[in-house]
Symmetry: C2
Subunit: 407 residues, 2 copies
Amino acid sequence: MIANTQRVLTDLHYLRSIGAYKTGVHRPTLSADDMIARKWLADQLRAIGHTSTIDGIANVYGRVPSDGPIVLAGSHIESQNHAGWLDGALGVVYALEAARVAKETGLSGGVDVIAFADEESHFSGASFLGSESFAGDVSEEVMDGSVCRSGRGRLRDLLADAGLAGRERLKIETDRYKAFFEAHIEQGQTLETEDLKIGVVTSIVAIWQYRITFKGIQNHAGTTKMAIRRDAGKALMGLWHRIEEEFPNICGPHSVWTVGHVSISPGQPSIIPGCAEMIVQFRDAEPATLDRLKAKLYELVREADDGPCAVTIEVMGESTPAHMSKALQSTLIDAARTHAPDKWLVMPSGAGHDAQVIAPLIPSAMMFVPSIGGISHHWTENTSDKDIALGAQVFVDAIGRVLSGSG
Amino acid sequence: MIANTQRVLTDLHYLRSIGAYKTGVHRPTLSADDMIARKWLADQLRAIGHTSTIDGIANVYGRVPSDGPIVLAGSHIESQNHAGWLDGALGVVYALEAARVAKETGLSGGVDVIAFADEESHFSGASFLGSESFAGDVSEEVMDGSVCRSGRGRLRDLLADAGLAGRERLKIETDRYKAFFEAHIEQGQTLETEDLKIGVVTSIVAIWQYRITFKGIQNHAGTTKMAIRRDAGKALMGLWHRIEEEFPNICGPHSVWTVGHVSISPGQPSIIPGCAEMIVQFRDAEPATLDRLKAKLYELVREADDGPCAVTIEVMGESTPAHMSKALQSTLIDAARTHAPDKWLVMPSGAGHDAQVIAPLIPSAMMFVPSIGGISHHWTENTSDKDIALGAQVFVDAIGRVLSGSG
C-alpha cells in the first residue's frame, strides 16, 4: 500500500490548529479542544465507512465493516500540557491514512483505528487509562476514584461534561486482529544523531521506580558539632553518589537511571535536615538487567542504613518490559528497506506507549520517526515534513504487507 | 552580688505563660503576646526605679537613674514560632535580676536592661533588627521595606498596630557603659555532654553562606541516553559530595558546614532535572579558616563547572566573627570558679546573638547555660531549674564584679 503523504501532512497540520499553543498544542485529555480533535477523528473514520464511536473513557474507535484480515492501528490524540503537535497525533493520523489506503486499495479486510484516551496520564488511577480500559484492566472503582492530576476535577465529572457519561467502555476483540501497529516520534536523539529515519522498536522498556526516605535528626546548623550530626540530606547525597558510582558497572547498554525528585526538610539554610526523600527510577527492556539494578539499589540502601540516618525504600512501580512481535519487526524492516534503505535501526523504546498494554494481547509493532534535537513534552517538539512523509510510507506499507499476507 | 534565684525562676515561668504553646511559647515579634511580654518587662524595670521605654522598633530599654559605673545587660524576649520558653527570655530575666540585685545592694551605678526586638529575625531587612537599630545600623529605608517572613505584613504596619508608630529608635550611648553582658541557652550539647554548667563564650562565629546554581538540559528520563545527559541534579550531588570529602581536611576544630536547602527542577521522577540549586553555609570564628573554606568551595565550583552543567556561585552573606572581651571572659571565669568550680568551659558560640552586634561598640561578654539534649528552636527546648539558678548566680556575680571594679 502507498500512503498519500500530502493527506497525512494536511491532517496533522489541521490537528495542530486545534488547541494551538505557540508552535505546539495544548490538548489535555477531555479538554474542549481534546474533544474537538476526537470528534474530528470519529468523523474522518465515518467518512470512509467505518463504524466510529467515542466510548465511555473517550477512546475513539473506528471499525472497518469487513470480515477479511484486520489490523488495529493507532496511538493517542491528547497532548501533554503546552506540548508538541506530533506526540500521539502522528500515530493516529498514520493509522487513519492506513485505513484510507486499505479501503482505496480494495483489499479484503482493512484497518481498525483507535485513539486511546489519556496516554499522557492527565488522570490518576492508571498509567495508560484508555489502552488499559480497552485491554479490560480498568475497574469501575478505578474510574470512580480517578482525578485530574492538574486539578481539573474528577474523571467521571469531566466525562459527563464531555457527554460521555454512562457510555460503554469498549474491550479489544483479540480474535479479530492479526496485529497492532503504533507509530510515534522517537522523543530521543538516537535516529537524528546517526542520520537515520526509521526506528523499528524491539521492546518498550520497563520502568522501575522507588521512593527512598531518610530519617535523621533536625538540629541547629551552628551549635551542632559535625561529629554528632544525623543529617538526612547528607545521607541522601551519599546514597545518590553511590548509585552513580555503581550503576555504570552493572547496567546494560540501553539502561537509563534518573533521580528526578529530591526533597530536603525543612529546607532552611541554618537547619540540619531531619528528613529527606528521593525518587530513583531506572528503565531497561531486559529483566535480568532490571533485577541486577534493583539488587544493587537495595544493597546500597542497606549500606546507607548503616550510617547515622535510618533509610527505607518503597517500591512505587515495577512494570514489565513489552516485547514487540519478531515477525512484525521483520515486516517493518522490509518496508523500511524498500522506502528508506540503510536509514533504519532496530532499537528499544525508552518511553512508555500504549503498545506496551496491547502487546501481551495481540502481536504488536512500533515504529519511530526522528525527533529534532530529541525534544519532546515541550511545544518546540518537531519532526521535518519529509521525515513525517517517509514514516507514513513505511508504516502504511508494513500494514499493507500484513493485510495482504506477505508480511 | 548574689542573685535571688527563686525570683528568676518565678519570672521565667510567668513569661512562659504568655503565649504558652505546649511546654514552650509562641511569641513572634510584635504579636499580641510579644507586646504583653514587652510591657511586663517595662513595668518590672519601672518598679525598681528605672526609666523604661519601648522604642520605635520595640526594643525595651530600662535605664538606671545613676551616674556611677553602668553595665548594659539583656537579650531578646520574642520567640521563634512555636519554640522554647528560655531562648532569649533567660538572658532578659538574668539581666533584670542583675539590675534588681545591684539596686538592692546599694551600689553606686547599676545595670541598664535591654530586650532587643526581633533577634529571631521574623522580619526582613536585617539579621538582628533590634540590636542593629540600637547600634545605629538600620536606616529608615530598611524600616520601610521590612516585611514579616511569615506573611503577617509590613513591619511599619505591625509597629503601628502595637502603638509604636512614630516613636524614636534609641541608640546606644557607648560612653555610658563599662560592659555589655548577655546570657543564653547553649542550643548545643557541648556543656551537657561534658556535664558542665557554664559556657564562657570566646567569640560568636561568622556565618558565610552561598547560593550555588546548576544549569543543565531538562529532558525525558526514558529516551535520553546517559552519555549525552546534562543532569543538573546529578551535578549538584557531585559538588555536594566533593564538599563533604574536602572540608574535613581543611576545617578548624570548631568549623561546621551545612547544606540545608536543595531544590531540583522540575522535580518529576521521569524528567532529567534542567536546573538545580543548593545553599552551602559554613561557620567559624577564625578568619583564616573561613577564608580557607571559601577558597576550597570556589575551587570545587570551578571543578564542577568543567562538567556537563554550568555552575555559578553567589555570596548570600559573609558576616564577621565577634570576639568577646578577654577581660570580661576572665570576670565570667572568676564568677564561675566561685559558684561552679570545675563545671565551666570556654567555648565559641556557633549560633548568632545580639552580643555580636554590640561587641564592636563596647566590651561584651556572653555566657551559656546547658540545653537539655541540645534542643533549640522547638517547644521541647529546656534547661533544668537547678542549672537556670546556677547560671543566674554566675551572671549576676560577674556583673557585680564589674560594677564594684573587681572584675
